[in-house]
């Protein structure tokens, strides 16, 4: 009998303990990205741009060179990096406040320019780090610390569907929306992330994977309940699937 390790901490993680709350999906997504980087053999030339948000320390958690951008500006920072050193693989990791609110202009234009970078977008319908305020992706009726009476379309606007919006742009090579609530869709999510990085390696332009994620702490739910709430509410409003795939056209 041979004792074979089939799954363990990937090399592209630094091993530092995550600062996330128990059950927070940020951790799952980190691991998936690290696995993909390992599998593609690009660790030594990958640069991460972390956001401001709960994942602000992402640059510490990955075993790659990296930095943290001002809130929302990761796509611009990544653009600067990639333009300066096109041989590197550059990815941003961003929350919904970061990407869909303050950083709207930067993500739209990075996508539109077809910057050859990859963005992992964690949509947890809330500002996790600052204490559960409304995000642009907060669902209607959802209570947050800045929508204490529930999000109201008239007062606070609508939950924004970023993948759909960005899909209208010509510079986009790949966009998919996934979630990581079950082992099955964790595997799907990983495939999507891999495709996104592959698109960059092939030089096809901008790629993005939106991951519907939980924030058990600010949702006031247990990690398991949070996963259910996500499936029953968020996944309805934010349909999973591939929104753009120009990786085949290109082949």
């Amino acid at each position: 009998m041979i004792d074979k390790i089939v799954a363990k901490m990937p090399e592209s993680l630094s091993g530092k303990e995550f600062t996330y709350c128990p059950g927070c999906h940020h951790g799952i997504v980190h691991r998936l990205i690290a696995e993909v980087i390992d599998e593609l053999g690009i660790r030594e030339k990958t640069l991460i741009v972390a956001p401001v948000g709960c994942s602000v320390f992402a640059y510490e958690f990955f075993n790659v060179d990296g930095t943290v951008a001002p809130h929302g500006r990761a796509p611009a920072v990544a653009t600067g990096m990639k333009r300066a050193t096109p041989d590197k693989i550059v990815f941003t990791y961003q929350g919904d406040g970061d990407l869909a609110s303050i950083g709207t202009a930067e993500i739209v234009h990075a996508a539109n320019r077809g910057e050859n970078i990859t963005t992992i977008f964690i949509n947890n319908a809330v500002y996790g780090m600052t204490g559960g305020q409304m995000a642009p992706t907060t669902l209607l009726g959802q209570k947050t610390t800045t929508t204490p009476y529930g999000r109201d379309a008239k007062a606070n606007g609508y939950p924004i569907r970023m993948s759909e919006m960005l899909s209208t742009l010509s510079g986009v090579a790949y966009i998919e929306r996934v979630m990581v609530t079950t082992p099955q869709n964790v595997i799907k999510a990983k495939k999507a992330i891999k495709k996104a990085f592959e698109a960059q390696i092939k030089g096809l332009g901008f790629s993005l994977v939106e991951v519907l994620s939980t924030c058990p702490t600010n949702w006031g739910k247990s990690p398991v309940e949070a996963g259910k709430w996500l499936e029953e509410n968020m996944a309805k409003y934010y349909p999973l699937g591939v929104y753009v795939d120009r990786t085949k056209e290109a082949e």
């Binding site: 600062t19 128990p22 709960c54 702490t217």
Partner: protein
């Protein structure tokens, strides 16, 4: 008395912030000047939390305190961290339901309260903070039961009103069950 400072510290879920707030409010009702200052930031997510309450007869300068007069340590890390800075002859109140080790300082007055156990007995482990608060009141003599009650009455309004009685009970039990080590 001129100026006293209290640090309440523990895990996030142990209600130390509220404990500090009730201490401050009670002291206010007793006619004192008070400040309440939370730790925020690094310790906030998941880890430990603490707050500092300053109680004084005069206007309070700094709400930050290098060397507190009283430390309420609700868990081990808090005891380790704050035992060190406690003033000589100060009071160290330990939640002995959770803290299973002994303090090392010999020049301070140590008290113990089995806050979790007492709260469990009353019927709701969540009121462990009020048990500790009662013990603190007893040990320090800094605030009176009357003003604690008043502070609780003002805090537990609306939907929270149903919890008022058990919280008051917890304070009383805490005052009773405290042990001098």
């Amino acid at each position: 008395m001129s100026t006293y400072s209290v640090v309440a510290a523990g895990f996030g879920g142990q209600g130390v912030m509220l404990m500090g707030k009730i201490i401050a409010e009670a002291a206010m009702h007793d006619g004192k000047k008070v400040t309440w200052l939370p730790s925020y930031g690094p310790e906030m997510r998941g880890g430990t939390a603490n707050c500092t309450v300053v109680i004084s007869d005069e206007d309070i300068g700094s709400p930050v305190v290098d060397t507190p007069d009283v430390v309420i340590a609700m868990n081990i890390p808090s005891m380790i961290k704050f035992e060190e800075v406690l003033k000589k002859d100060g009071i160290l109140l330990i939640n002995s339901s959770v803290v299973d080790r002994q303090p090392t300082r010999k020049d301070v007055k140590v008290f113990k309260i089995k806050a979790n156990d007492v709260a469990d007995e009353i019927g709701n482990v969540k009121v462990l903070n009020m048990v500790a608060l009662g013990a603190f009141a007893k040990a320090s003599g800094l605030i009176t039961f009357g003003s604690i009650k008043k502070a609780l009455e003002e805090t537990m309004t609306g939907k929270k009103k149903v919890f008022l009685d058990i919280n008051i009970k917890a304070v009383q039990e805490g005052m009773e069950k405290i042990e001098k080590a």
